[in-house]
């Protein structure tokens, strides 16, 4: 572990990112030159099944999406917490397991509350 490990394991990933960007961008750039481009006002308008687009597309959306996003943050932090716990389970033993169960019970109370309040309900 240390600088050599980082260089050996992460440098290829950086090269991979560059290769992936090149692989994705090359066809997109080439198609601009190779394909015939004939833009006109009708083509460049927003697609709305043939109608004129009549108001701004960035409209209001249902608050439940927002609510779920907040719940997602809570539970995703949870899994970020569970990952390291699961890795060191051999060292922390029964005590660590009981601690995590207590923690999950607290989380479960919040989950049941959200369920009962109808935050997970879509009709």
């Amino acid at each position: 572990m240390g600088a050599a490990y980082l260089a050996n394991e992460y440098a290829p990933i950086f090269i991979f990112i560059l290769v992936a960007i090149a692989m994705g961008a090359a066809p997109l750039v080439l198609t601009l030159f190779l394909a015939e481009q004939k833009p006109d006002a009708e083509k460049l308008s927003a697609y709305e099944c043939g109608f004129e687009a009549f108001e701004d597309a960035r409209l209001q959306f249902d608050v439940r999406f927002y609510l779920l996003a907040i719940l997602f943050v809570v539970f995703d932090l949870e899994s970020a917490f569970l990952f390291p716990w699961a890795i060191v389970l051999d060292q922390i033993g029964l005590f660590g397991f009981v601690e995590m169960v207590l923690f999950l019970v607290v989380l479960l109370v919040g989950y049941i509350y959200a369920w009962k309040k109808g935050a997970l309900q879509w009709e």
């Binding site: 090269i15 290769v19 999406f65 569970l82 989950y111």
Partner: protein, 353 residues
């Protein structure tokens, strides 16, 4: 290390990377072919069989056609985000393959110890895959927002919500794998399943296998969960994209599907090990790719078999069924590990005791 050594090393890495990225792109093309053929057979028709022998040149013809189509960037779109979105979904789908171990080789006895065939054998490989593959949500969001058109934006909001919902079940499901293997390193997880089909994690973690695979299906937006591409939304977040730009999104989608299949094989189906140890004389890569190919077939089979979920049913499945199920299974696995008497059962799969 001299600069020349470093340049040679970087060159070798670049070749390794191309040796993985190019086959991924090619297999995406041929998965679309097999998808059409298999669905054709399921529906008692031929599927594409005209271009080339048995239609084998069809994907290349499709690619060429998409390539020669005009690029349309809507006048009201946010240009920078609109151009960036296809890359933002494709790049994560590709670079997640950096840590996938494709097998072990001693290069016909040249090396003394077998080396893991991965571009980067990261200690936190599983976390890396989770983190990188969830980045593609940004591509979906960017595409929908940048298009400034109603169908894409509604599609991208629904898509995002679907992806984040199933990511939770996925993450919790994987915790059970880590509890048994005691490692995030993908090759360590495979090593923990050595010794035949009974040692594979699909036996103690069978419900998690189901949760992971179906959540993967929902993450990628494959058919029972392709709500963002329903008829009412035209084509979801990539409605405004044309030609090669649209193809980049589907490349990312199929790439993610291959990744889910590979990860399911690695985490639950014993990776590169044969079901019977005697069959390990067949190279591990063949086993791994064979298992993944079967899972990709299952994806296509789903598509041919199941009708589409309704949005509320899909949310119910993710939040009210999979989430309690995975949390419960974490508890069950922990209970088995620490209860005297029961621990002798789980010891069979436990790598660290």
């Amino acid at each position: 290390m001299t600069p020349i050594d470093m340049a040679i090393q970087a060159g070798i890495w670049a070749l390794e990377i191309l040796a993985i990225a190019a086959p991924v792109a090619l297999s995406v093309a041929y998965i679309t072919y097999f998808e059409r053929r298999i669905i054709g057979w399921v529906q008692v028709r031929q599927g594409c069989n005209r271009v080339g022998p048995a239609g084998l040149l069809q994907p290349l013809a499709d690619g060429l056609k998409l390539f020669l189509k005009e690029t349309i960037i809507p006048a009201r779109a946010n240009k920078l985000l609109f151009v960036g979105a296809p890359l933002m979904s494709l790049v994560p789908a590709l670079i997640a393959f950096a840590v996938v171990p494709f097998g072990e080789t001693s290069l016909f006895g040249i090396w003394d110890t077998p080396h893991v065939m991965a571009i980067s054998n990261l200690n936190m490989g599983l976390l890396y895959v989770m983190a990188i593959s969830s980045l593609s949500i940004y591509g979906v969001l960017m595409a929908g927002w940048a298009s400034n058109s109603k169908y894409p934006i509604i599609g991208s909001i629904r898509s995002t919500c679907q992806m984040i919902s199933y990511e939770i079940a996925m993450g919790f499901g994987l915790v059970t794998v880590m509890m048994l293997a005691g490692s995030l390193n993908l090759s360590d997880i495979v090593h923990a399943q050595a010794g035949g089909i009974l040692h594979w994690y699909m036996i103690p973690l069978f419900p998690m296998l189901i949760v992971y695979f179906i959540s993967g299906c929902a993450e990628v937006g494959r058919t029972p969960f392709d709500l963002t591409e329903t008829e009412e939304l035209v084509s979801g977040y990539h409605t405004e994209y044309s030609g090669m730009w649209f193809a980049t999104f589907s490349l990312a989608e199929y790439g993610a599907m291959i990744l889910i299949s590979l990860m399911t094989s690695i985490l639950f189906l014993g990776g590169w090990y044969a079901p019977i140890p005697a069959l390990d004389i067949i190279p591990g890569t063949v086993w791994l790719l064979g298992k993944s190919a079967f899972l990709i077939f299952v994806f296509i089979w789903f598509r041919a078999t199941f009708p589409r979920y309704r949005y509320d049913q899909m949310m119910r499945l993710g939040w009210k069924i999979f989430l309690p199920w995975t949390l419960g299974w974490i508890f069950v696995v922990g209970l088995f590990i620490y209860t005297p008497g029961l621990d002798s059962i789980i010891d069979f799969w436990l790598a660290w005791r």
